[in-house]
Symmetry: C2
Subunit: 792 residues, 2 copies
């Protein structure tokens, strides 16, 4: 623990100014929660001035305001570039109040002017239909973090400072949020921050003692334990604790004086002194009462300092006239006449210490990353193409091919592009990017380590939550990145994806928010090739989860081979404000398309593969649809069997790269018109569709299509174990032999030769199953399809 | 940090016996990874004896074996009841080896006998098609935890010891897993364990330094920082570090001697001395080389002690004859002839220190919780019924009604039932169960706290991960529970649900695994009534996620009122081996059914509500389907409008409680036959279906139905903000007026009166929207429908 300077760094004037800003912010916060009118309390408060529904969270707000006030002082003094991440985002009124005071709010929302009329509108709009959300939302100036679903504040903060050497992110961590898993892991982010190149995060653990109804864990362990915990996380904790405003102002100012100097020393040592040791970054433990400066007691029960201060301390005002009087007294306790002039404008004293222009935390461009976003310099992906003389004649590891291109991307964009992954980047065969960039690592290093250094830029930690949170912070501050993960475990961040998708949807509707780079998921080590890791590693359901979100935000790609993956990846890294989900295998897999063909195919997103079809461009008897590398392999193999054994049968193979093409054009911007869909899939012929994931998704996407009743989908139906790759497709009835059986079962009038072929397929499956059980591997005939040497 | 006793507690004989067991387990682990045959190395090893595909994870295995060996000593000595949770579950060969050695394996799998023939089968089956998974899986005796997806080991361990005062759970936390969020939060579980009533967890942080490719964070911070971290988490850490087997055996034995005594002292003080202070529980930091005792160097690169030991240290044996020789030397280094007799049976010395019967960790019944599971004593839920004289005449808060019944459940089952929730149990209006049971809390307590005590049994922490993990541990050891959560944030545990559903699916197929109690989710504070918290709190997609898993495991219920919720909850708490998802509101909501009607309706799971319909039991002109409390309210209201305004229109209202009734009977055990479905929804009439969640799920469930093309679904389409409850349904076009419009748009030939009504509905919506924007609340006419006083 650091010792608090017993000096009182603030002069009387400074203290008065800080306190005035804080009181003003608190006054405005209460006003937002309660008032419809009478914002300056020109007349005695009555029920008519009060909102019929009281929404909002007072408990955390005065603490958030206190921190904002004090950050302003050091920002203005040291000309810092700082932004504010409010983990307790439900303290929305606080951030709105402070940004209104500093002027940044009214610049973005001229209707909410910095005067009495604006104040009335400010109060009225809060948590009001047609107004603004109750949380620190995308609508809030200076925010990159909503804080509705708790746990991600600190990861966002760390993501924001990567490659932003001049940026300081003040991150308030509520003691409720601190109990979440993602936050508990996030403290260790300091092992990945290089003070020579990255900015600084100042975590402020705000202990106000209670959550909604319960005490908080970190407020109820001893001082020594908490000190040990923060020390163990690698920080130097400063404790600022109390409730008496004057003493607290002095203590907070003293702590921030020491801390800003310490951060400068750390950065100077790394930037000028060449130090590569991991520093012990400072952090603050701020302990204040919940609902600080609010009503101490209501209806005989203590409120300030208890869980009862969490939301609105005074409620049911219509039934309790006394509560109206208490509310008025509470608001007047901030002495509004000292804070606002006769026009409702903040007085000069209140604003004396406030930073100017883009130094205001509500106007810092880093919190509106689209303003700073620049295109990546992308190497021409065609230069990385695989030569494909004949479809299906040779194999590549698609992600390894992509890795070479990503190496180029990383090389050409050394300050604005990063790859994130939970210790799986090499396993996902993107090793080239690690060779180029190294892995970021500020903890101890040993000679046996591989590409691990303070200068590394690939972010690897065994926490999908941290990868996602860091990347979100990096993107929202105007940079680019890719998150690579094992497919099954990306579900770990389902809820983080939700919140980010909601953020993107909301910010599309806010004119001053500029588009940011898309969040790109590269899911490899996918369900069909986790045969060796078994059932727990087999889950293709992230796509289902993703497509529940707004169509304008969501893109899903299933490139069937390496060249298609290159084309898709280039497209994704150029795109803006989407979530792109790309699923691609890492195992050797057949190459089908030349680069030119791949570009054309991926641009269309869906298409007939003539070389695999036997309908000669005419009307087919059956359509084999496929999406995903393994389903494509099995479908192409099934088509080859049918071509050889039932040459009179006209088979059309349709491959889908862009999954949303299957949907109706009225449902998704990439959706096909019914005419185009019917041209591909016919209106009356059987369609046997092999899909990468859970089969019902294809039904969901296509149920409006004319030919939907003829659609038969194979996919993963939650059957798996530790076995061989081919056994995986067999277990789920998606293997080539079963697809042939499906065709024979659905095309009428095929006759006896087909019946015999069907029986042969059944026998072949039994034979392979028996061979696999005996030898522990797929038989050579199957392997030759799966691995190199196949021919069509 | 605790001081390691410098004494060497093991005699030479004891040490030799322990080392023999350890070597035997290591030998058997290597054998499983590599060998098809020649298990006792009777002849020189050749390629023919070696598996064609090498799968498995050696790196963590010798450490897991070491811990198993040493736990055996103290279990046998002190007659402890202990189970073993292996966080690094991919070290599967280790747990299989130890349970085979102790005999528990062969008792459950007689084909894998404890002799040479059995050893050959043991080796062959591992990670082999038709054999056993590579991880510590449901198939592994003594396991309650797979450890495939990392992060949950410690939460499972803590859940297992709740209300199990005699149980000790040794929980190995890998240093990779320790980086995950859920694990980082789990350390704080010690604040919720009451030594008077609960058992003990011994966490062992196993530092082997590397993950797949990267160093681990906790192995690369200083000793002092790690000591501070564990102290800060509230533990007394013991460090056992090294690689020389003899010294390590002595150090581990010394640590375990001290620790078992300390656990006894803690429990005695609480149970006999009445201490209610939170103890500092011991934990171990075990630092050993990754791949300990394996090849030090392969092909000139270091392996032991590096990330290269993570999976198979020696690979490509067919291409590298030298590797075959190295493998043989490695296996012989364990001196198998000293460990196994001529028949391949473990020698007496190896087994001398092994516990017997159910004390063996592979045979402890707590790890097969179904063996210990007993029915709950359930109070008659009919006694908690709401009186319903007329449908829709009065309102109840459904979860509050449920809370009273849960109070009774908690009262009558004080040692086998718990409620878990992330600080939302009171907010979800289940406060009665807190009044009955209190909240578990061993950290500091203050007078301002509410029902917080060491004796509390409701488990509340602001971490959905911990709630889920604790509950899983509690269920898997044979008890019962409910997890209540805000609906939107249950996505935080999507991936944990996945893994638990996979566990349930797998264990259904393992004869010796007995069914456990179902995992019951109660999702409240749902999408339609998070109007006040805004967009981030609005997500009904967990149901979509859940229904991807095996139908035999999954149940989804949407009770429309309080009596239905009681009936459903009673059913869920009686059920076995399912995941039950129940969505229910907490706000005042109309009561429709008497208890008898509710029981009949919930038993059928779907049915026509005659009192709300106007088809008089005949063929309707239109069907209004509904699932969920708010959709039901809006559908019933729409039906009432239609009855009044278009009395000649025959409207049928069909309410769905059990969502899976919509699916085909071939797809889900609860699925309706086509005949029954058609009888409800007709084959040719328009169906306007109002659904609680994302509308496309209803299409997915019904696309095989004859009348699917007439189905029009309203639901949440990701439109929301901070607004009023009625504005939420308006934003998503699911309000009563829009449903009336949908009916008019789809029923042909309704004439001019309908056209005028439609226009009236449009105007009414505009009016309400304007009123809400002006007054900040829904107009009284709408509120009267939503809140008490409505009549139909």
């Amino acid at each position: 623990m650091a010792t608090i300077d017993t000096a009182r760094p603030l002069t009387t004037d400074e203290l008065a100014r800080l306190d005035a800003f804080w009181r003003a912010a608190n006054y405005l916060s209460v006003g937002q929660i309660y008032l419809l009118d009478n914002p300056l309390l020109r007349e005695p408060l009555t029920l008519e001035h009060i909102k019929p529904r009281l929404l909002g969270h007072w408990g955390t707000t005065p603490g958030l305001n206190f921190i904002y006030t004090h950050m302003n002082r050091v920002i203005a003094r040291d000309d810092l570039s700082a932004i504010y991440v409010a983990g307790p985002g439900h303290g929305g009124p606080g951030l709105v109040a402070s940004t209104w005071l500093e002027g940044s709010y009214s610049e973005l929302y001229p209707n909410i002017s910095r005067d009495e009329e604006g104040m009335r509108a400010l109060f009225r709009q809060f948590s009001f239909p047609g107004g603004i959300p109750s949380h620190v939302a995308p609508e809030t100036p200076g925010s990159i973090h909503e804080g509705g679903e708790l746990g991600y504040a600190l990861a966002h903060a760390y993501g924001a400072v990567l490659d932003n050497p001049e940026l300081l992110v003040t991150c308030v961590v509520g003691d409720g949020e601190a109990e979440t898993g993602p936050l508990a892991a996030s403290w260790h982010s300091n092992k990945f921050i290089n003070p020579a190149r990255d900015g600084a995060v100042l975590p402020i653990l705000h202990l106000n003692g209670y959550k909604i109804a319960n005490p908080t864990v970190l407020s109820r362990i001893s001082h020594d334990e908490l000190d040990a915990l923060m020390t163990g996380y690698g920080y130097r904790p400063w404790f600022v604790e109390g409730h008496e405003p004057e003493a607290m102002h002095q203590a907070m100012a003293a702590a921030l004086d020491e801390i800003t100097a310490e951060i400068r020393r750390i950065q100077d040592a790394a930037r000028e002194g060449g130090t590569t040791e991991r520093p012990r970054w400072p952090m603050i433990v701020l302990r204040t009462p919940k609902g600080w400066t609010g009503p101490a007691e209501v209806d005989g029960l203590p409120v300030e300092g208890t869980f009862r201060a969490h939301q609105v301390p005074l409620s049911k005002l219509a039934e309790n006239p006394e509560h109206v009087r208490m509310l008025e007294a509470w608001m007047r306790s901030y002495r509004p006449h000292e804070l606002f002039d006769e026009h409702g404008r903040p007085r000069a004293d209140v604003l004396a210490g406030v930073p100017e222009g883009e130094r205001r935390m509500g106007a810092n461009p880093h919190a509106n990353g689209g303003l700073l976003l620049r295109d990546l310099r992308l190497p021409d992906f065609r230069d990385y193409a695989i030569d494909v003389a004949t479809p299906g004649a040779h194999s590549s590891e698609a992600t390894r091919v992509l890795g070479e291109w990503l190496r180029g991307v990383a090389r050409d964009n050394p300050e604005t592009f990063r790859v994130f992954g939970p210790d799986e980047t090499a396993s996902n065969r993107l090793g080239a990017v690690i060779e180029e960039s190294g892995r970021a690592w500020m903890a101890e290093r040993l000679p046996t380590d591989d590409h691990v250094s303070p200068g590394g830029r690939v972010m690897e930690v065994l926490s999908e939550h941290l990868c996602q949170g860091w990347l979100e912070g990096y993107l929202l501050t105007g940079r680019h990145g890719v998150f690579n993960s094992y497919e099954a475990f990306i579900h770990i961040v389902d809820s983080m994806f939700n919140q980010h998708a909601k953020w993107l949807k909301s910010t599309r509707q806010i004119p001053w928010r500029r588009p940011v780079a898309s969040l790109n998921y590269l899911l490899s080590s996918h369900v069909w090739r986790q045969d060796h890791n078994g059932f727990s590693h087999q889950d293709p359901g992230f796509i289902d989860h993703v497509v529940n979100k707004k169509a304008e935000i969501i893109r899903v790609y299933l490139p069937p081979d390496a060249n298609c993956l290159l084309s898709v990846a280039d497209h994704c890294l150029r795109s803006r404000h989407y979530v792109n989900v790309v699923v691609a295998g890492k195992q050797p897999s057949l190459d089908y398309l030349t680069m030119d063909e791949a570009i054309a195919h991926c641009t269309r997103g869906i298409g007939i593969w003539d070389w695999a079809s036997s309908d000669n461009g005419g009307e087919p008897d059956v359509v084999l649809g496929c999406a995903g590398d393994i389903p494509t392999l099995e479908s192409v193999a099934a088509a080859a069997i049918l071509r050889e054994r039932l040459p009179e049968l006209k088979v059309r193979v349709v491959n889908v790269v862009d999954l949303m093409r299957l949907q109706d054009e009225t449902e998704h911007p990439h959706g096909l018109s019914h005419g185009l869909f019917d041209a591909l899939f016919t209106t009356d012929k059987p369609v046997i569709f092999a899909y990468h994931g859970y089969p019902w998704l294809i039904h969901r996407l296509t149920y409006r299509r004319a030919n939907h009743h003829n659609l038969h989908v194979r996919g993963y139906k939650e059957e798996g174990t530790t076995t061989t790759p081919f056994d995986m497709v067999m277990l789920n009835d998606m293997d080539r032999y079963h697809l042939v059986m499906d065709v024979i079962d659905r095309v009428p009038g095929l006759g006896q030769r087909a019946a015999l072929l069907r029986q042969e397929m059944v026998d072949e499956r039994l034979h392979i199953r028996a061979y696999t059980r005996e030898h522990g591997d797929d038989p050579a005939a199957v392997r030759d399809w799966v691995w190199p040497g196949a021919s069509t």
